[in-house]
Symmetry: C3
Subunit: 390 residues, 3 copies
Amino acid sequence: MKNFKSYLFAPLALFAMLFISGNIKAQGVSGDTIANLTDVQKYYRAIHVMAMLLVGFGFLMVFVRKYGRSALTATFLLVSISVPLYYFISDFGIFGEKGSQIDILIMAEFGAASLLITAGAVLGRLKMQQYLILGLLFVPFYMFNEWIMLDEGFGLVGKGNFIDTGGSIVIHAFGAIFGLGVAISMTTKNEYDTSIEADATSDRFSMLGSMILWVFWPSFCAALVLPEEVVMTAINVILALSGATLATGFASIKLRGKIDAADIANASLAGGVAIGSVCNTASPTEAMIIGLAAGAISTFGFAIVQSRLQKGLKIVDTCGVSNLHGIPGIFGGLVALIVVTGINYTAQLAGIGLTIVIAIVAGLITGKILHFFGHREKPYVDTEEFIVED
Amino acid sequence: MKNFKSYLFAPLALFAMLFISGNIKAQGVSGDTIANLTDVQKYYRAIHVMAMLLVGFGFLMVFVRKYGRSALTATFLLVSISVPLYYFISDFGIFGEKGSQIDILIMAEFGAASLLITAGAVLGRLKMQQYLILGLLFVPFYMFNEWIMLDEGFGLVGKGNFIDTGGSIVIHAFGAIFGLGVAISMTTKNEYDTSIEADATSDRFSMLGSMILWVFWPSFCAALVLPEEVVMTAINVILALSGATLATGFASIKLRGKIDAADIANASLAGGVAIGSVCNTASPTEAMIIGLAAGAISTFGFAIVQSRLQKGLKIVDTCGVSNLHGIPGIFGGLVALIVVTGINYTAQLAGIGLTIVIAIVAGLITGKILHFFGHREKPYVDTEEFIVED
Amino acid sequence: MKNFKSYLFAPLALFAMLFISGNIKAQGVSGDTIANLTDVQKYYRAIHVMAMLLVGFGFLMVFVRKYGRSALTATFLLVSISVPLYYFISDFGIFGEKGSQIDILIMAEFGAASLLITAGAVLGRLKMQQYLILGLLFVPFYMFNEWIMLDEGFGLVGKGNFIDTGGSIVIHAFGAIFGLGVAISMTTKNEYDTSIEADATSDRFSMLGSMILWVFWPSFCAALVLPEEVVMTAINVILALSGATLATGFASIKLRGKIDAADIANASLAGGVAIGSVCNTASPTEAMIIGLAAGAISTFGFAIVQSRLQKGLKIVDTCGVSNLHGIPGIFGGLVALIVVTGINYTAQLAGIGLTIVIAIVAGLITGKILHFFGHREKPYVDTEEFIVED
């Protein structure tokens, strides 16, 4: 199983999916002009999210100097396996009704975002086909959790009780914790002995990815909100990101003496992660404060916690997703308890707790399965799997 | 003619154009609010296409290590010559009525896309002013073919009979075959003796261009469709691109042993090329299958056909546009025969055949004319025409 | 004051702002569906402008080879300090009524654009915290000038009399001249003795930023126009940018012998700067001619004027903002006198003159204050303030 045959796993599964799926026919939202216009407007947010997935997440991960081609190719593959998979599974209706076609597309992209976060935790330590298998295993787990949190799933949380508009918990925390689960099952000695190197060019590429994420994050959070909520949601997200960016600048220089470009590229985005749950309910002032706090927390994670975690628990989290998506995500979910008037405390806390449990269990299982498909000889180098001229 | 004077050719032509064109007055689509909103929505797709033209095509061509500044400058110049030229020629009404102002802008961008594909075939082997002359010659030929295929041109195909919504034939195949025609007329010995070198940085830039193209491709195909068709068109394009990306990953490793980053950057996009003709009529399942096939075909072209073509026929196709836009484009045009119910077989086949003939003849003529304006001493280096400090 | 404490200045000011600002509540434009749709459409233009601010301006400034991380971090910080600051100051209503929430966001982004232009003039010669202080000082001055030009400020120009839709004067010229003021107060000997170095990679990054600016410029100029004016405004901007790009190509080779990639990256954008004032009133032909002229003027500035200014007046304008935003901006404001029928000559000339005076005075004052917060040891290197592995 560790050899070439494993490459066939992914396309076979997809083909099976395709042929069972019957034949969804191309269909317009006929007649209603306003409904059409509204759907097309959602479409533009879907494209913004796609820019975040490929260019944003992809280039953010290019900070690993010798692993650029691999990181970008992995991003391509992860998006290309997960979006169709989510889309065709939705068509079966296993995990509840997903709404209109554009809503399904956006939710599929959310799933891809969460998957890319997971992949960030083990970046550089999977073979290319393992990224695909990761995608195939991740999506059903993700949809299962999403169904419990946001839909009728087992009646555990109840529809509409769990507040997480922009996915602080369901997308960010889930992806990060799932990734830690995989990392726990996968990390080997030669991984935490190998240092992850950046250089001036990889840093600039990484900041490009970060900027793309920053710019389009308002559309991520506002992707599915009502038309009349789009503008205020966007303003909240921009204020939260601004707050996080300022806090990151101060915290980085305070905690490290000099600024680390990786802090700026990563922790600045923690504002977007943390505002997720309350992006359409917070006031601008609250949004700014949430962002400032999230940036400080995240930078503290990158500057102080990361290396201790690695040395103490022997877990390598390549991109530090626990600091960017994990802690700030949970923080965002908890902030809803304060900010949202009339919130259902039990449902919110249950949702957060359940997501953490499902993510860690699913991640551990997935890691065990991936382990079965082998390991790279040397982590963080393109040369093992790519044709390299230079 | 080979000297500086040739630089004056382009602006003079443009100025002539401008002053003859009278004075189109700034005008709104007054009154009708819904029509205005719909036009503004098209405008966003026009901007997405512009991102593809400059950032997408531009950076995809940066894979040539020592020719980055030139590739990007050529992209700037080609867009800047062709969009105004198409726009002002449309105003004359030579090649039929083009619709509203935003439709004309989008069609001008389509022409620029096709031109950039052509330029990809001879990239690195033209002087800067020759790119401009190429643009001046290309646009009228392109508009002539477009007029025959999609409009009343000579009554050869007939309006509405030829199915090519996203331009598999009219944009992609036409540009690629035109480019081969130019390459046949232009290629010299010192070109196929000079190897085209990439490195880690040029590869990452190239993948950036590729990702921008991937992300905005749905807007390219959906640019001119009806509002109620936008969402399903976009979903089809995303599924086709996903299919092509997965197929490319598998095919690249299967055919080469290791993955070639250039395959991922290029052949992944073949899904977008091939879905063009039927992007608003295929079912999602069909779209995914078309994408998988296109990715496999395109990778086969890059990995196997390209080098043989170069050695056997002595034609250098710098960016491999025949593998990305040529074959997948024709494949897309032919797929319409199967997918679209009630298609006019004669018109579809005639359209494909005529486009191939017009493109190759026009390309050969254009190549001869360009040949007359001289040749670079050394292909694929910035230093000949650019100030280079490093 | 020159030490760490200065870092506290910015967040304290912001916090004060936040807590005074009361609590703007998240609010939708309830009820009116068309108004909502129109606001969401403006939102997409706001996102395009944000892409210009971070990715566009940010990467355009990465042409300084050893100062990439700093330039990008400074961009992050400048956007993150100025957008919230403008937003919360607007809430006070000091400088007049600013309109709806989305209008305020877009105007805040315009302010950030102007600030980034100012920063370009002294790029590489401020410490990170000084960029923040620059932002804190700049925004009130900018809003003061904006209030006089476009609103009722002192009744000096009068509302609606000054024609500057896309901000040739209020955004571009103001930012550039403010920057020159700062540069005059700040420039030291070791700055004009240190050369600014580019290399192939920094040039390609710079052209990426330039392309992002080019692509989204139509949305910048059309951000606040009426829905029925969006399309023609966009076409005018694209024609002006195309004209400037062509003129830059010709002028660069004519004036320097070879093409300078920095000319292409910068002067091509002068068309967007110059068309600003009349972007929604010019005809396409006029737009193209304005662009051609602006590109030629700007390239002349970069190729001929820049070095003489530096040697003669001992002012270092790092990014050459006077050539890209200063002169072309004033040119754009003056062009309105010819192009716009029924223009109020007195108001237009008074507006231009007043903006120049306010900008230079405010810049000189700001430079003096910044001077007080110290100086970098070595200009244009990341290593002084950033952790650098390579």
